[in-house]
Homo-oligomer: 363 residues x 4
């Protein structure tokens, strides 16, 4: 179903932007995993609106675990999490129900369903990603029982301003040190200025988030549609405003020759070790042992305080100018969401590998 | 499962590069769809090796339909297609079983499964895509019963050589007019020269394939993980050598401001019509009525006739230089595969829409 | 996943007996279906404990719809329902965490998960079926938009006391007329007396529930694992205490010869009409146009106020005598649950049929 | 999809009775499992027509493994098996395309698909079960790598003739000793006589097959829809002519009181051991450590050489009398199919358990 992600660990999210809340049911979790509600809350706090440079909507985003945990550990049964919505000012949106905002899913949703909740974009709202972040924190707890994996995402470019970040070293603390969530201090400064300027101009900016997962052993992932890159691509492109994805050096690779692009191997204690990492830690969609690296491109926020031509529900042309409580740039808040998607994919494939482990026969 | 794609139309492919063949089971097909075996064969002929600029492996790629069709029409039961392998020269690969080729899935596959078929990359071989092309032809036959949709892919860039192509007009005939499958004659000439030069230099090239689907009505696709862009991204990144994906103007959008990037609407006979198409025909992952547009970036072929450092199965460092029958550039043959993936995604969502159609209630 | 039922309509239930509540996410629902919360509440009221002949646990079972509905109609997005638990007296169960009750899932659950919620059977509790009943009411609302289908279940036998019921005529009103939910007044009287006697004796009873779905057109269901009988069997055997299933005359058929068991056809306005209905309205798992009929056998409630030998968590033999708030016979409360499972299966297959409808080609 | 069974091990079968063959794709198999083609062939030989008491159709049923195995061991990739059809005398069925046989799926299939392959029942044919038997042999090979499990099915009743069989001891050799596949020699004799008499009278018989799986450790299976009993019920009711299912003492349990039906526990080396096995080795759908026991009821074969009233495709009443090559009683040939379904369910849940194993935390 369209609202479910993962095969061995299945996350189903639910909730409209301005309903009683959003939430998820997360199934397939092994029993005995320690769940720390404060960890989930901390993850949500990073995605929460109301931070500098972001939407002023103020949601406490307190997750409530309704099932699946007993005495602090998972039961192997579905974990149900509900994040109540508090600051849903639906009146802001009443006028939106009569027209289709450019760049938003309003018209396609109307064409798809014939009946929609126009308040805040309904199901297309970025608010849905809170449920993913909560589940991502759980996925990290699962991964912790399997391998010491570190997942760190950061804002790598905003508009034309790119950062210089070493994926083998970057930490979440460095990322969190600045509201724009870019660990390169110079770039971060420039990004923040641009975002403020765009906001003042009633405009918005896009860019790229990059993410690294360090510590993934060789041999995670499966051929074809269970390739890490395929699952990551699906997960990332399912995010609001996501428009592009690359695995490893992705886009740069397309300009290279093979002799330059291949990563040579050298002997290592547990098998071959790639001496470069142009492939972003995967070949054929299966991890090589090098850090998993990928990037997600986001378009600029569609809501802008500029006059745009559109059409109302009666088919008449109208002018529309956005107001509402929107981020001038989604990237800083997308960082924990991108980390969550990586955690979900890795934990899913870790369980896939456990279900069907490698042959112990020496072939 | 890792070998199955689609939800309402489920394609499961099977087969290793040098086994008795490759094939697929395609389930969920409505009854009564006319199946023309020659159409499937024609599609396979476009992907087939042995064409100019491609691998000299010579496979007739005759699809044999083993079930699901009676008197030329589908039965609503699974369609099983088998494409026998004829020219599988396994001896070419015997030496490969003892080392891990750089840029290939050899080592990750070994780490994942502990036992692998080293001949021709086994399951990671591009030969698997023949099964997708066969199913894609069936998906096009299904789509034909629903809407007059045209899907056209082309090679848009090879290395640094980019093409100028009008996605609203380009035809398969124009694409097929040249072996490099680029409809821009000047670019096509340059691409072909570069590919030949790379081949002579024992090297390889990457680039981008772009694809358009014209005629998709507004309202196909579903929120979240059933977004067209998410399914297309998964499908494309599941292809061998695919390393990047963009939906619509994707990468270019990340540099723009929202006021520039949004597509305005004007009134049309069936609802709002976007006057530009930067979003590539989808918003929130649901079609807007404009042509669906996306691109796939491929890395250069990993097999190059250059000395590369790697490690053998005993952990010792070795030098490896590729020979074998490989394409110096996968893009020309990837064109029909990319079209097949688009057809599979669209047909899947067309059926999703039929299962849960829009409300007829006037809201 | 183990907690999800259905393919085109996917019901995922969550919740432990003594947690904050139980609930479900129901995905795949078409947009525009009218949802009446009172209808869901009325369905839950029929399953609720605290009725005559049933457990004294007192739960208001107020369903709260958290998503998927806007202005009284479904949005095509997941419907999340939460039923808060109020009267969960966990102290009753504290002593149970140290031993494994005979006839209950305690020991297998411990062996499966290594960590369990012993209060009230955790996930194995019949309380989970409230979520199914809520979803079943929604499934009936979906079916109502497709065909005028009536689903009626009843208690057909308790211990040795069997009822005489005409499945072509029986109504829910007749079933609801008595606490034991048997529409045959004489049998109902006997059943009630037996249940009271069993309860007084500290014992319990089993029996059969039968169910009919009238108005299902010919041609619903699919071959093999999507057969109506296969999906019904899975759904019914997933219920607590369910131990047997028959489709149509099922058990009786196994004693007959084919010449007696086959249903002859006569011409009807929409195709052949079976003149008898030994097959219970399906052949090859696809509906024939006759009423769908099946039965579910339930074992006697496992909790009895009799001394039974068992083992505690330290492996020592102990005697156990049940108390707690348990039904002496689960069948009366199982009636709405069985109806819900039928509604879920039929609605799922109705959508399957819409996704892949019959050929319109005249073959 | 309707043609796929299992979640962690996914079997997809394909093929119509009179097409070029039937087959399956079996996905999710761990790498390194030894596959012995002769074992698959031997399993198919037991299901094959042309044996005493069965249909005279003569099929060699040689399975051809097209993928997934290299050097005698599974690769972790999909295993594709094709069983070519040789003796498909379609002319026998030409007259059947114009009418709907009573007791068969002809009319419901026509109503479902609008276009069908009338030859031999198409997809509804028991011939499809050959693919399950082949996969079942593979599932047994997978199970062998996990636990020493023995699965034995037998014909337990034909019409009124029941057998006395000790499920804790019965062996496949004892079952195979007689064509009727009943290990009780006296009952077997009676059954065989009845079947011959029914055949001579142009009639057919039904009955029950029972099956035991010994050696299944406690803790296999999952709550709700992944309960062993639920998956077994779905699997068994997906078989042609299957009309009833019971888990453990199933039907008999429904007549008992709880104090009689519960299985007491006594201490054992690995936890509690049930001292009786009325529950058939599972509680709450999870194995208890006792042998898994269940039964499947089959109706009498629908093809009988007696005049029956039916309707032709133009809606006119006609008389029909079966001939063709049909079994007068499906039970003997159903025995290996029932074993295959048990093997598929157990292997699926064994992998489910490996993906999400019990907590190692001492709770």
């Amino acid at each position: 179903m369209s609202n479910t992600f993962g095969e061995f660990l299945r996350l189903t999210t639910w909730g409209e932007s301005h309903g009683p809340g959003i939430g998820c049911v997360f199934d397939g979790i092994p029993a005995g995993v320690v769940i720390d509600p404060e960890e989930i809350e901390a993850a949500l706090a990073r995605r929460r609106p109301g931070q500098p440079l972001t939407s002023p909507r103020s949601e406490p985003d307190r997750p409530r675990i309704l099932s699946g945990v007993h005495e602090g550990r998972t039961l192997g049964t579905p974990l149900s999490i509900w994040i109540e919505s508090v600051d849903a000012r639906s009146e802001d949106y009443s006028r939106l129900s009569h027209l289709y905002r450019p760049g938003h899913a309003d018209w396609p949703t109307q064409a798809r369903y014939g009946h929609r909740d126009p308040r805040g974009g309904g199901r297309a709202s970025a608010r849905e990603t809170a449920a993913r972040v909560a589940a991502g924190a759980v996925a990290e707890a699962i991964l912790r029982t399997i391998a010491p994996i570190e997942i760190v995402a950061w804002v790598d470019r905003v508009g034309e301003i790119g950062a210089a970040v070493d994926p083998t070293m970057v930490t979440r603390a460095e990322v969190e040190a600045r509201p724009v969530r870019c660990p390169d201090p110079v770039a971060a400064q420039g990004m923040a200025e641009r975002i403020v300027a765009a906001q003042e101009a009633g405009d918005s900016l896009g860019g790229w988030v990059r993410v690294v997962a360090r510590g993934v052993p060789a041999g995670w992932g499966d051929p074809l549609f269970g390739k890490l890159k395929a699952l990551l691509a699906q997960g990332m492109l399912s995010l609001p405003a996501a428009v592009a994805f690359e695995s490893g050096d992705g886009i740069a690779s397309t300009y290279r020759t093979g002799s330059v692009n291949n990563d040579p191997y050298e002997p290592g204690p547990d098998g071959p070790v790639p001496t470069t990492n142009r492939s972003g830690g995967q070949l054929g969609g299966i991890s090589s042992g090098a850090p998993i690296l990928c990037g997600v491109g986001f378009k600029p926020t569609s809501t802008v305080a500029r006059r745009q031509s559109t059409v109302d529900r009666d088919g008449a042309p109208v002018e529309f100018e956005g107001t509402g409580r929107h981020d001038p740039c989604v990237l800083p808040r997308a960082v924990p969401v991108v980390e969550a998607m990586v955690a979900l994919v890795l934990a899913d494939r870790a369980l896939a590998r456990r279900a069907a482990p490698p042959s112990t026969h020496d072939s």
